[in-house]
Symmetry: C2
Subunit: 197 residues, 2 copies
DNA sequence: CGTCTATTTGAATGTACTCAAAAGCGGTGG
DNA sequence: CCACCGCTTTTGAGTACATTCAAATAGACG
């Protein structure tokens, strides 16, 4: 009951932007690999050349890097129905600078670089799918970039809570602080200040 | 000698990711409109529904918004060979929150929403072009987002100088400060501190 | 040349960080 | 099922980064 469900989920995701017939669906599915990671396990580490893009079907992944002072910075949290990975490393096939770690027992589907290319060759419609997917991601990253340089930590925290309440209540404050770009101590202060209102 | 050059430029840009034959080139060109803006002139203002995506062939555009305190935040500077616009507004056809203003006398090519759709219908290869274009933009926005939350203003300033020296020397410090997300006064301090080393 | 805007400089303030220590909470083994 | 251990969260004091406001100076454009 579990295995087919994964594919229903990803096909529905793809179906937002393109329509596939049965043989195309089968081909697409055949280009995917199943993967999983237990809580606290790494899916990827810096130095590796990213071999896959990931689509999470269950659980939660944290994509992050360490700066030269050893401080974590979270690029994104990927829960069910999220695509993730290190695009720069995947695209250019150069060593990644990111960690991907499971915050919960997690299941995902992966597509390798070569199957990604093959997908475009066999079913050109997928160019359209990814064009749309990236277009949307771009919109949200442009927004997040602007928020990062123009808003206070408190404002960014409130935006995150409103936009991703279902993520906020699955992660620790420490990880959320690393996503917001502030220290856990400061996030704690913000919360106590906000609760007094 | 000027008008044809514009199209050579954009065809070369497109040629990075897809190959077009002559009739495809002609069709593509026919879906573009030429535009221009004098220094200090607005190309777009908040409240408008973005009708076009822009490709700059000469000059420099500043894409920015005002926060509730009236402070400018620059999303990007677009010089020759840059694509720009307000993707969110263009994609969803909802009112923009951005200004686009010419910092120099600027010339650009535009593609309207309906021609954008038509382009995909007539020459599906363009899905691939924009898929690649957006993929690249995404990589740089992911990086910029991480820089915004993890680096000091001084570090972000140095990165900008190294990455876009040709832009840095065309814009004012005030505009650069608005891009970095700091006040012009603070950028001035950073510069004087750096020059003392 | 004059005017308008950008840039510089400085003092006072606010936002966010560092370091330290205590309190809370969750998972694990006995 | 309880007790312990390790990690997260809280709290606080002192500090660094960045802003605000004000005023002087420098530059650019008409």
């Amino acid at each position: 009951m579990d295995a087919p469900y994964k594919y229903d989920l990803i096909l529905k995701n793809v179906g937002r932007f393109i329509e596939l017939n049965d043989s195309e669906k089968d081909l697409f599915k055949s280009l995917l690999t199943e993967g999983s990671a237990k809580r606290k396990e790494f899916v990827m580490q810096p130095g590796e050349i990213t071999k896959h893009e990931y689509y999470v079907t269950k659980g939660c992944l944290k994509v992050y890097s360490l700066d030269r002072n050893g401080v974590q910075h979270v690029s994104m949290f990927a829960i069910e129905d999220f695509w993730t990975g290190d695009m720069a490393s995947f695209m250019l096939q150069q060593p990644s600078t990111y960690y991907i770690k499971a915050l919960e027992d997690t299941e995902f589907l992966m597509i390798s670089k070569s199957n990604f290319e093959r997908l475009f060759k066999e079913i050109p419609k997928f160019e359209r799918f990814y064009r749309n997917l990236y277009q949307r991601s771009l919109v949200s990253y442009v927004r997040r970039t602007n928020e990062g340089i123009s808003l206070t930590a408190e404002e960014r925290y409130e935006i995150f809570l409103n936009k991703y309440p279902h993520i906020a209540n699955r992660i620790t404050q420490k990880d959320l602080a690393a996503y917001l770009g502030i220290t856990p101590e400061f996030l704690s202060m913000i919360r106590s200040k906000m609760s007094k209102r």
